[in-house]
């Protein structure tokens, strides 16, 4: 309540002043006229940065008994007879955000992936943006760099202008076991997983980052 009632103040003030004067005269008590008021509450609400399920179901692959020459439908070469894997995800936050993806290739035991042209190849794409092409990803400067098994490739940038939710992303994971895969890879196993990241774009300039390359100049977590 910000308004003060001035008429009530003037009447009451006369009576109180009189009584106070009497008291001062006899020296027994002492009090003052006072008043207070509170403002209305100010409200503060945050925006959100969040991710959720994609519009369609993802496909997690469990491909067994791969032979040299086997590949999925979107691979560069090979039989192209196997199903690709997909990862569908959605940015659902209200704040403008930068998006990135990380890739982890891993194995226990014999590894089909050797980081060489004769080992397992991956083709990871988000639309027209290539994330992994064979065994390579692009570092900040654009140079092709082999993915190392067991070491996550972090923060491949997906957008050069901030996006707001909902913003769906679909990652295709194609693969190829080359004809020249060595006999030592027989029975080998490799896994691949993607990590989708979103971070507020406010107060985070993109700098020289380019979509499809690693972007380490902004803080992702």
């Amino acid at each position: 309540m910000k308004t003060i009632n001035k008429s009530m103040l003037s009447i009451g003030g006369g009576l109180l002043a009189l009584a106070a004067a009497g008291a001062l005269t006899i020296g027994a008590t002492f009090s003052l006229f006072s008043a207070s008021d509170s403002s209305s509450a100010s409200a503060f609400a945050t925006g959100t940065v969040a991710v959720g399920l994609g519009d369609s179901a993802s496909v997690t692959c469990n491909v067994t008994e791969m032979s040299p020459g086997d590949s999925s439908s979107g691979a560069a070469t090979g039989s192209k007879s196997l199903d690709k894997c997909t990862y569908n995800v959605k940015y659902t936050g209200s704040l403008p955000a930068w998006l990135s993806v990380g890739v982890t290739v891993n194995s226990t035991g014999t590894n089909l992936y050797t980081a060489a042209a004769t080992g397992l190849q991956f083709y990871v794409k988000n639309g027209s943006t290539s994330i992994i092409d064979g065994v390579n990803y692009k570092v900040v400067g654009g140079a092709n760099t082999p993915v190392t098994s067991g070491v996550t490739v972090e923060h491949i940038l997906l957008n050069e202008t901030p996006v707001q939710g909902p913003n769906s992303r679909s990652f295709d994971i194609d693969y190829l076991l080359p004809l020249l895969a060595p006999n030592a890879l027989q029975g080998g196993t490799t896994s691949i997983e993607l990590t989708f990241n979103a971070v507020q774009s406010a107060n985070q300039p993109l700098g020289s980052c380019v979509a499809g390359r690693q972007c380490n100049s902004i803080t992702w977590s």
């Binding site: 969040a50 008994e65 990862y87 020249l180 027989q186 080998g188």
Partner: protein, 362 residues
């Protein structure tokens, strides 16, 4: 289907850190992330994981190789290696359709083995994918040693019988020029049939009494002559005859000859079990040793202790009024000059006298 793990970081904690960031003390931002389930890819394997050992067998004029099938998701092919003297190796069973696959079993034929040479075999299964680096199992352990013979049993012509007039004894359909042909006639009476023209008699033995019977064995080299006519000279009881073909092994151009200085033949008193004696001594390497027994009853003579012999015939015959039994077995003896242990034969039913012969050819 996929299970996605969603991690969302928003709220008061983020708000407070954001507020402190605004005054420059820390740098924390609103973030969120989600990680996919791991897709898994696995390379092909073979079943079984150890290449099966090859079993070599002399079959007709060549060496047949057999082993168990190996499976994978792709077609499995096999590389077969022959190891000869002083470790020399060569690939066999090469070329289109050289290997036959039947459910659970693989077979091929070594068409280049040489008579008198000993070999072992091994095989290596691999994925048959064009232009690929072959995925394979480790080569199998070597097979047992097999020696390519000069002569090997191929088959027997049909049995013919007569109680009187001469009868034509047909050749086996597999006969080729130069093969060794052996005529065996068993009579229900102790009387020798007449030897056909062009045949060389090697055994003529009979027994009398309750075991009344006769065994006649003759041989010749196949030269395109017509099938022989046999005069049984045995009315009533009849005579049964057939011709066995011991073919020359692939690449063997030598004419067959007797490979012993002493053909063994004789008769022995009735017994259930019998081992011909003495053991034959071969006079040439890589000889085919043939053991023949007969008796005057349908007693199905069989090998009870083979001693390396393979039984070829165990037959009951009724050429006339009585029954007969005939058994034939053979083995290949690599080294000349030693005696070859005879197999032990057994006859069923009430035992009759044995008539027997042991021959050697090369």
């Amino acid at each position: 289907m996929t299970k996605w793990h969603i991690l969302t970081l928003t709220g008061l904690l983020a708000l407070s850190t954001h507020a402190t960031a605004s005054i420059g003390e820390t740098s924390a931002l609103f973030t969120a992330s989600s990680t996919s389930s791991a897709s898994r890819l696995t390379g092909a394997t073979f079943t079984p994981k150890v290449a099966p050992v090859v079993t070599p067998t002399v079959t007709a004029r060549s060496i047949s190789l057999n082993w168990s099938e190996v499976k994978s998701t792709q077609e499995v092919a096999y590389s077969v290696t022959r190891t000869g003297p002083v470790g020399t190796t060569s690939q066999v069973c090469t070329g289109p359709n050289s290997i036959t696959v039947s459910p659970g079993s693989i077979q091929c034929v070594d068409t280049t083995a040489i008579s008198g040479v000993s070999y072992t075999y091994s095989q290596q299964p691999y994925l048959n994918i064009s232009n690929s680096t072959p995925w394979s199992l480790t080569t199998s352990s070597p097979s047992s040693t097999v020696t390519a013979p000069r002569l090997s049993y191929i088959d027997s012509g049909p049995d013919v019988s007569s109680t009187g007039p001469a009868v034509t004894v047909p050749y086996p359909s597999t006969v080729e020029l130069g093969d060794l042909l052996i005529l065996i006639a068993v009579c229900g009476v102790n009387k020798a049939p007449a030897i056909p023209t062009g045949w060389n008699q090697v055994v003529s033995r009979g027994v009398s009494g309750q075991s009344n019977a006769f065994l006649l064995v003759a041989w010749r080299i196949a030269d395109g002559s017509p099938a022989p006519g046999l005069d049984p000279r045995s009315t009533g009881s009849g005579t049964s005859a057939r011709i066995l073909n011991y073919g020359r092994f692939q690449g063997n151009l030598a004419n067959p000859v007797i490979a012993t200085s002493g053909v063994v033949s004789g008769k022995a008193t009735a017994s259930t079990s019998f081992t011909p004696s003495p053991d034959i001594v071969t006079s040439g390497s890589n000889a085919a040793v043939i053991s023949i027994v007969a008796m005057s009853a349908a007693n199905s003579p069989t090998l009870s202790t083979p001693r390396g012999f393979t039984q070829r015939i165990s037959q009951n015959l009724t050429p006339g009024s009585g029954s007969l039994g005939l058994g034939v077995a053979d083995t290949t003896v690599a080294v000349a000059g030693g005696s070859t242990a005879s197999p032990t034969w057994t006859q069923s039913g009430t035992p009759r006298d044995w008539i027997y012969a042991t021959l050697a050819f090369r």
